[in-house]
């Protein structure tokens, strides 16, 4: 023990770090901040350190070359001992990091932590969110598979819509005229040098300010922030009723971080690494690109925006969102901190959470995407074929062969791009069915040129059978009159 003390003293005499570290560790914090609500920031830092370590381990094997990256990922997955596990840790670590950063942000927002004097801490936090998402996107590109390739194409298509400089920005992003070697190299440089450098710098400033300004106290309804008196009140809070950060508060941080690391390790072992999917070969077009989990909401949004509004919303909405986040501490730098007295803040969080959650859920199922092989792989349910006439069955064949099934479902199977057709005969009568098939409309292509009259007749005959047994199909009540058969017969 004496030897250790002597070595410690030798370093301390030269470095002089002991005192400031002891002071930072034992600085007083308000007693009720030693809470399970205050553990997300440190957990995000822990996961970030995990990402650095696993990232360096992956870089030992990974080849940032468009021609070789995919092969090196396969080597990691299958040949190198525990390579799959390191990849899985890094992949699951990124998902956890995005999630924890978001939870941390919601917590500090609801606890009013962005108010005076912690405005800059919040602003740096907004930048931390942006660079974390930047890490997520660039990392998804480094897993250089089909999804990464076409994801870059989506990124380029969005970038190209910037007025005036769009095409140039695309070339800068791709490093050339197409997605190729230069593209992967620059995303590697971004993911491994540029963005992590920013992230480390921002984390340093963020932590420094937390130490300098003190952790945000537990908000009490009625305890209002005033610039003139806040610092004094906070000083009183920490010194009259404070506890030393180490060990009174820190143990919860440590336990929660350990829990998160365990959860990441569990997911890594149980679910394994992410991909890689198919080879990044643009001539293999049998692919349905999907973004990673944290960008599914954007993928969903892009399918729902009306075409004319898409470009302005894509380009302007993110800028407005960032400006709103940055302006928040200046607009609401004083006042109530407690969520109990801030209903609009709570509603905003709920609204954003419901919107993002819904879009993410929809993005997972992607009902707007045609099921590209439904016409050849999903049969028509047999109850729609039993007891049908030859013409109607011929129509069912037309339904399959003309790929109607790719966008329309029957018996819950098939595409959801268009409406399900199980009860279509209740909605449309014969003439309306013919018109819809021939002319399209309502987001359906026109099939007039691609169907012979015989095929149309058969298809419509089949569609007319799609209604529940107990309910009569729609029919044109005036038809009988128009055809001169006297009075229309009442429906049975």
């Amino acid at each position: 023990m004496r030897l250790i003390e002597q070595v410690g003293a030798w370093f301390e005499m030269r470095l002089g770090l002991g005192k400031p570290i002891r002071e930072s560790a034992t600085h007083p914090v308000p007693r009720n901040t030693a809470s399970w609500f205050y553990v997300f920031g440190s957990a995000a830092l822990t996961v970030f350190i995990l990402q650095i370590v696993t990232g360096i381990l992956l870089a030992l094997i990974y080849v940032p070359s468009a021609g070789e990256a995919w092969n090196s990922l396969q080597t990691l997955n299958h040949t190198i001992a525990l390579g799959w596990f390191i990849r899985a840790l890094h992949g699951w670590g990124s998902s956890f990091m995005v999630a924890i950063v978001l939870i941390h942000m919601v917590q500090v927002f609801l606890f009013g932590a962005y108010k005076f004097p912690r405005e800059l801490t919040w602003i740096v936090g907004v930048f931390l969110l942006l660079v974390t998402l930047g890490m997520a996107f660039t990392g998804q590109v480094l897993r250089f598979d089909q999804d990464a390739y076409w994801g870059l194409g989506i990124g380029a298509s969005i970038t190209s819509r910037i007025p005036v400089i769009g095409p140039w920005a695309v070339k800068l992003m791709l490093g050339g005229p197409i997605i190729a070697g230069a593209t992967l190299s620059r995303f590697f440089a971004l993911h491994v040098f540029v963005v992590p450098g920013l992230l480390i710098a921002f984390v340093g400033v963020h932590l420094l300010m937390v130490l300098k300004l003190g952790i945000n106290e537990w908000p009490m309804p009625g305890r209002v922030v005033h610039r003139a008196t806040y610092l004094e009140e906070y000083h009183e809070l920490t010194h009259k009723d404070g506890v030393a950060f180490v060990p009174y508060a820190v143990w919860k941080d440590i336990v929660f971080s350990a829990f998160i690391l365990l959860a990441i390790a569990f997911c890594s072992v149980y679910f394994g690494p992410f991909g890689p999917g198919g080879q990044p070969d643009p001539t293999i077009i049998q692919t349905a690109p999907r973004p990673d989990f944290f960008f599914l909401w954007l993928y969903a949004l892009l399918s729902f925006l009306p075409p004319s509004a898409e470009t302005p919303i894509l380009l302007i909405a993110p800028a407005i969102g960032i400006v709103v986040l940055l302006a928040l501490p200046f607009v609401a730098g004083e006042g109530e901190k407690s969520w109990r007295r801030r209903p609009i803040a709570v509603l905003t969080i709920l609204l954003v959470a419901v919107a993002l959650g819904t879009l993410t859920h929809l993005g997972g199922g992607a009902p707007w995407s045609p099921v590209m092989d439904a016409w050849s792989s999903l049969p028509i349910p047999s109850q729609y074929l039993v007891g049908r006439s030859a013409l109607e069955r011929r129509g069912a064949l037309v339904f399959q062969v003309k790929q109607c099934h790719n966008c329309h479902s029957l018996g819950e199977q098939g595409g959801k791009r268009g409406p399900a057709l199980d009860r279509v005969a209740l909605r449309l009568n014969e003439d309306q069915l013919i018109r819809q098939v021939i002319q399209g409309g309502g987001n359906m292509p026109a099939y007039g040129k691609n169907l012979s009259p015989a095929e149309t007749t058969a298809l419509v005959a089949f569609l007319k059978t799609l209604h529940p047994v107990q309910q009569a199909p729609a029919h044109d009540a005036s038809r009988a009159v128009a055809l001169g058969a006297g009075e229309a017969t009442p429906r049975p």
Binding site: S65, A66, G67, E68, Y149, W150, G153, I154, A156, S157, I158, T159, S160, G166, P167, W168, V170, K171, L172, L174, G175, G176, P177, I178, I179, A180, G181, A182, Q279, P280, D281, P282, T283, I285, Q286, A288, P289, Y299, L302, S303, P307, S308, E310, T311, W368, S369, P370, M372, V401, K402, Q403, N406, G440, N443, M444, P445, A446, Y447, K449, N450
Partner: protein, 181 residues
Amino acid sequence: MSAENGMSRRVLLAKIGLFVNGVIGVALGVPIIGYLLSPVIREKKAGYDSWLSLGELTKFPVGETRLATYRNPVVTSWDGQTGDIACWVRNIDGQSFQVFAINCAHLGCPVRWFAQSSLFLCPCHGGAYYQDGSRASGPPERGLFQYQYKIEDGKLCIKAGEMPTPGQPVAKNAGGKPTCA
């Protein structure tokens, strides 16, 4: 010499030092900006597109639409498969053709041709196009991107080399050889 004068001389020397560093910084920095912007500068000078062959006309039967692939004219040895680009060739009547980019005009995903229904469908957000490339339905604001083509020595040639995007459907400058033979 007063202490004050001594200080100011050192301040002056420090300022001169900073100035020299600044000049060196600018002298190095400006070319480095050029280095960073090289993907854009290269386009302005020579252009990325050139005429290249998709193969014999016999590969493309009359009245049908077939997938064709070509090696991008601007590639490096480490591009691997990413240098191979696909496109759709429609032989209208043996004389006139249409060559469509593989990229959907919405967000660039690869469209697939369905001969039975004569439609191009996009797997991402469900954009659909008719056989002549015009928009049928879905989120795209326009029809499929088309390459210029010509027929030389019984071969179908297109002018390509750059990924078409909604912001730049066709490349502005053409470089390379004027022929694809």
